[in-house]
């Protein structure tokens, strides 16, 4: 997948996101229980899974870095965590808007699943504080990698919290028997999920290319100095 050219990835992202939006607003039926507000879920759930995927990708690259001491893996882990945090902001914002429509509140501190996602998000925000409090070098890369690996433990906790919550007011989208929806709703969700994963991967590749260029430029400047 790393060999796919960036313009092709960007075009695929645009086409998929446009298709997903068309399906969300013009094809998917209105939910009998939640009404129009349920349409937020196509992107809210997809963004949440994309954020988890970014954090898992970041942890995987961190493991590769610790294993092979490859500085490229450290940079890739950092960029993946950065993408995860961006998508985490989107999860919190879209979730808050949905909560306002359905529950009448922007946020409920009594709900474990919301608070656990916030903890996960803040944990990864602290990753950047740790990273930028250390000087560039192997120590920073190693500590960041260990931190990114620890964070991945919080993902199943956050995911299962929706099922373990005492009050089931957060809708359960995926049950043990598969997704909790069928027909066009399932198709729309799947297209939205693929669209957001491709979009996240495109943004990841763009940011990674920028970071690599920045590092090479710094090295060149040092060589010229």
């Amino acid at each position: 997948m790393a060999r796919i050219p960036l313009p092709a990835l960007a075009a695929a992202s645009l086409a998929l996101v446009t298709t997903a939006l068309a399906l969300v607003f013009f094809v998917a039926p209105t939910d009998a229980d939640q009404g129009f507000s349920q349409r937020i879920f196509y992107f809210h759930v997809s963004i949440a899974f994309t954020a988890y995927a970014c954090f898992i990708g970041g942890a995987w690259k961190a493991l590769v870095h610790l294993w092979k001491r490859d500085p490229r893996a450290d940079l890739e882990s950092y960029v993946a965590v950065h993408q995860g945090v961006i998508f985490g902001v989107l999860v919190l914002l879209t979730g808050s808007i949905w909560a306002k429509i359905s529950w009448g509140h922007w946020w409920l501190w009594s709900e474990n699943q919301l608070v656990l996602f916030l903890v996960l998000f803040l944990f990864y925000c602290a990753y950047f504080m740790l990273r930028y409090s250390l000087d560039d070098g192997p120590q920073r890369a190693n500590l960041s990698a260990v931190y990114a690996l620890f964070g991945v433990i919080l993902i199943p906790v956050s995911f299962l919290a929706i099922r373990l919550a005492a009050r089931f007011i957060h809708p359960v989208v995926f049950t043990r028997h598969g997704p909790n929806f069928h027909g066009w709703i399932l198709v729309t969700y799947c297209v939205s999920q693929v669209a957001l994963l491709v979009l996240a991967y495109t943004l990841y590749r763009v940011e990674l290319a920028g970071k690599r260029l920045d590092i090479r430029l710094r090295e060149l400047r040092r060589a010229y100095a």
């Binding site: 429509i101 920045d214 400047r221 010229y224």
Partner: protein, 60 residues
């Protein structure tokens, strides 16, 4: 437009607004990097006279 429709529209606008902001930030950064590459390319190449420690050597 009902209240639910307004909120759903707002949610999607927030998503695309933030993604757009991110793309603009990355584009600005890439433009800065491009300027820096141009500045480096415009520098004169170092000549042997620039390095007094280097001595001319007979080649061939």
């Amino acid at each position: 437009m009902t209240t639910a429709e307004k909120y759903v529209t707002a949610a999607y606008c927030v998503v695309f607004g933030l993604v757009l902001l991110y793309v603009v930030i990355i584009a600005l950064k890439l433009r800065r990097l491009e300027r820096e590459v141009d500045a480096l390319a415009a520098r004169p190449e170092p000549t042997p006279e620039d390095d007094p420690e280097r001595e001319p050597v007979q080649v061939g």
